[in-house]
Amino acid sequence: MNSLLYLNIALTVFAAGSFIYGALHYLRPHRPLYASMIVVGVGCIMLGRIYILARLLAGLVITGIFHVGILGTIGAFGFFYSSNYGQIDSLVDDGSKDFMKYRIIAVSGILITAALYVAVLMSPASLVEKISDGITAVSIAAASYYHVKHIFVPDVDYGVVSCLRLFNILAFLYGALCMGEMAALAYNAEILLIVICSLQCIVSAALIPVMDKGVRSWSK
């Protein structure tokens, strides 16, 4: 698929733009670790895309096999998960029963990811592809739990989460789009792939500026 090459070029460019913007602002001393982790997460997306692009340019295949390009998505959602779980969650959830409602709502993030993975499982894709997509889905599901939770959970003391709601919506959407991309590749659905990758371009480019806006308003 020649379109796959062009789509990956576009995805690399948009993710790189977002990463460079973030790196210039946040990969410095005395900047919030949360923001730095999100920036490195977007860096993972960019590197994963560069790897896929390099494979395609070298004439190697990316479907039907296990390839380390999936680590770009796994690493990115690992950073998103780690930043939300390690840095923000303890500020908004003290573990009491009052927040049970939001924890249950957050499970919907995992369920949506799982539902999208079922579509991959039912596809004619190879077993290796289904397993590597499954591993990626686990990281997306884990991060989605906190993205959904932080979209709905109220701010308790610090007014931190409300500033990052839009970022969490975008990050959750990016995860769902990654699952959609896997399904489109598994079914070899070219038009669906073009639509999904175009949306991924927009979302990945917006991730850092939106996070930046949120972090600036919280540090005011």
Partner: protein
């Protein structure tokens, strides 16, 4: 030929051991020690990579672009993790020892590849290996070392953060391996240098400001 990596290890890494007892300060001994550890990891990785190659029907392109980046980065991370758990989680020390480990790994790897491709080597080849492979190994291990500096300070960040940094290092390594074996070889040189230069300039400026 199979013994060659062992012979090279004896010739390159073992002479550094007596130097360990001569060096005056603890830090220098630590960095040199981790360079020797890096060469040892490279020796072990050579054996593991051969086994992996056999497992994947000798498809060297597939193995070098997908499997060995994972095995090598994991093996390089273990001694750094050991140091972070047992001795110190100081960020600067971890960054330095992990970079030293990566360079030690690259030195032996370069020597092994040199003996394998002795007919085709040139000054350009040597510069390619220095700018590309040596910096790539150093940068990848240093990135993992950075994650490990959170081992005692922030456990919640340590597990996922280190795993994600390991993923980052693996993709970086794998991308380098793809590019270096394709017609886009110059891009493989630019990649590690593009990471190394800004970080080093930043460190240099920071240290100058401190003094």
């Amino acid at each position: 030929m199979e013994q060659m990596s062992g012979i090279l290890f004896i010739c390159i890494a073992l002479p550094m051991i007596p130097m360990l007892f001569i060096l005056p300060d603890k830090k220098s001994r630590l960095f040199l020690g981790y360079m020797i550890v890096g060469a040892t990891v490279c020796l072990v990785a050579g054996g593991v990579n051969l086994w992996l190659l056999g497992l994947f029907n000798n498809d060297s392109m597939y193995v070098t672009t997908n499997i060995t980046p994972i095995s090598e980065e994991l093996m390089k991370a273990i001694p750094v993790l050991y140091f972070a758990i047992l001795f110190s989680d100081d960020r600067e020390t971890l960054l330095s020892i992990s970079f030293a480990l990566g360079i030690g790994f690259a030195v032996l790897e370069n020597a092994v590849i040199l003996t394998q491709q002795i007919q085709n080597v040139s000054i350009v080849w040597a510069l390619t290996r220095v700018i590309g492979a040596a910096l790539m190994h150093g940068a990848c291990t240093a990135a993992v070392g950075l994650g490990m500096s959170y081992i005692r300070k922030r456990r919640k960040l340590f597990f996922c953060g280190t795993f994600s940094l390991l993923a980052l290092a693996i993709i970086f390594h794998a991308t380098f391996n793809v590019l270096v074996q394709s017609s886009f070889r110059p891009a493989a040189l630019i990649m590690p240098a593009a990471v190394y230069l800004p970080v080093t300039v930043n460190l240099f400026l920071k240290r100058r400001k401190k003094h």
